[in-house]
């Protein structure tokens, strides 16, 4: 719960800090990229703060690479 509040605070702080820049790029496609990445981050942040463990991206890397390495 505490972490969820902190997560929301973080997102709020980010938007607040970027306010001026966001106004400057209003109606530009740059904002799509911005909110795309931010949205992804937000979703991950919420999942993380709700107590679920996110899988580490390294898991897939090692799953793919381990058989290859064992050849050598």
């Amino acid at each position: 719960m505490v972490y969820t509040i902190i997560s929301l605070l973080i997102i709020g702080a980010i938007l607040l800090i970027d306010k001026r820049k966001l106004k400057k790029y209003k109606n530009s496609k740059d904002l799509w990229v911005y909110f795309g990445i931010l949205g992804l981050g937000f979703v991950l942040l919420l999942i993380h703060s709700s107590g679920r463990t996110l899988p580490t991206p390294l898991y897939w890397i090692s799953a793919v690479l381990k058989p290859i390495i064992s050849i050598f």
């Binding site: 702080a13 607040l16 800090i17 306010k19 001026r20």
Partner: protein, 401 residues
């Protein structure tokens, strides 16, 4: 109200104050542990921790009616278990970075102490610069419970005493925990640890009266060196062997050598060694393994108890020879003890072999102690006397008969 970037500043400041207190401990809320004793009773570790009592030590608010130190004791299955149990009795959370001494009881040392000490190497709160000693013939807590004069904190007293005696006398060994770990894991050297002993009745030492006497009933005294096979105590060296050990290890910074006077056998001469340098060498390990110890020392004449003519080079040469013989005797006895009595290489010859003859070492590494017993070791001592103190000949030469 419109939020602007400036509004973030007070919010952040507030968050810093509200959240940031995880590692925060106020200095007056920690119990500063200065010494720790480990004992073993019924398969459980007994940990004794000596804490300082700051308010009775501090110069300004010094309250001499209270004891400067206090010890707490707790049993546990592991050291960590015991330490955490201590919170039940100790008023404050104990704080270990200022640990000066670790005392291992002889009983635990004989059974093997290595399994108990991982915490001290792993936990970031423990620095590895505290000294390790073995309580000879005593329980560890008896040693820690003694109140000592001069230096108010007993552990500090033990620490500086060991340091001084190792520096200027040499039968003791100031061994830090880091060194001990190294010795424990190095295949070429068995560890040794200095012993500590109580004189007098242990329980008397806990009383404040012990501090109020000019000649305290109970004192702490360092004895000689204990020899280990890995982590199990095998026996004690006597003073001669201990000194010999330190000569070989190149631990001698300054010490004295007392030799009988050649004009009057009943009287003695004292020579102060001011600098000593030892080299261990290997010779042709593959065909005829042989090792050698060579010691070079500089010395001054400290005390003359008989009438001899120090202005003659001949006399000086004679004294040098005597000293060389004495030191060599100590070294020989240490080597003899190692090879014949304990059959353990606590002198570190294995490390020398490892460095200079890696191939040979690979072959013998597994049974080095067995191999070591049969290797002949030569020793050579060279003493050079420089100064006579502030006198040339002693006034003893002119004494009226």
């Amino acid at each position: 109200m419109k939020l602007t970037r400036k509004d973030l500043i007070p919010v952040c400041a507030l968050m810093l104050i509200l959240t940031g207190c995880w590692n925060n401990r106020e200095i007056e809320d920690i119990g500063i542990a200065v010494a720790m004793g480990i004992d073993k009773v019924d398969n459980q570790y007994v940990v004794t921790v000596q804490l300082v009592n700051p308010s009775s030590i501090s110069a300004r608010t010094g309250d001499s009616s209270r004891a400067p130190i206090v010890t707490y004791q707790e049993k546990g299955k592991t050291i960590f278990d015991a330490i955490r149990r201590l919170t039940k009795t100790a008023p404050r959370k104990t704080f270990y970075p200022h640990l000066k001494m670790l005392v291992i009881s002889e009983k635990l040392a004989r059974e093997g102490f290595a399994n108990s000490l991982d915490l001290l190497a792993r936990d970031p709160e423990f620095r590895s610069d505290f000294y390790v000693v073995v309580a000879k013939n005593h329980r560890a807590d008896h040693v820690l419970n003694v109140l000592v004069p001069v230096e108010k904190i007993a552990a500090q007293n033990m620490y500086s005493k060991l340091k001084t005696s190792a520096d200027v006398f040499a039968p003791t060994l100031a061994l830090t925990f880091g060194d001990l770990l190294h010795d424990l894991t190095s295949p070429g050297k068995q560890p040794v640890i200095t012993g500590i002993q109580l004189t007098g009745e242990p329980l008397e030492g806990e009383k404040m009266e012990n501090l109020q006497r000019v000649n305290p009933k109970v004192r702490l005294k360092y004895t000689n060196i204990a020899v280990f096979k890995v982590d199990k105590l095998k026996g004690w060296l006597n003073e001669k062997e201990s000194k010999g050990y330190n000569y070989i290890e190149n631990n001698v910074k300054s010490t004295i050598v007392t030799v009988p006077c050649f004009t009057d056998k009943k009287e003695n001469l004292s020579i102060e060694l001011i600098d000593s340098d030892t080299k261990l060498k290997t010779n042709s390990m593959n065909s005829h393994p042989e090792m050698s110890v060579s010691v070079k020392t500089d010395a001054n004449i400290a005390e003359v108890g008989c009438s001899i003519d120090l202005t003659k080079q001949e006399t000086i040469n004679k004294i040098e020879k005597l000293v060389e013989k004495d030191i060599n005797g100590k070294i020989r006895s240490a080597i003899k003890t190692a090879q014949q009595k304990y059959k353990l290489d606590f002198l570190g010859f294995g490390e020398v072999v490892h460095r200079s003859e890696p191939k040979y070492w690979k072959r013998v590494k597994k049974d080095w102690d067995k191999e070591f017993v049969n290797i002949p070791i030569k020793s050579k001592v060279r003493v050079h006397i420089h100064k006579l103190g502030k006198r040339s000949n002693s006034y003893i030469n002119e004494l009226k008969e």
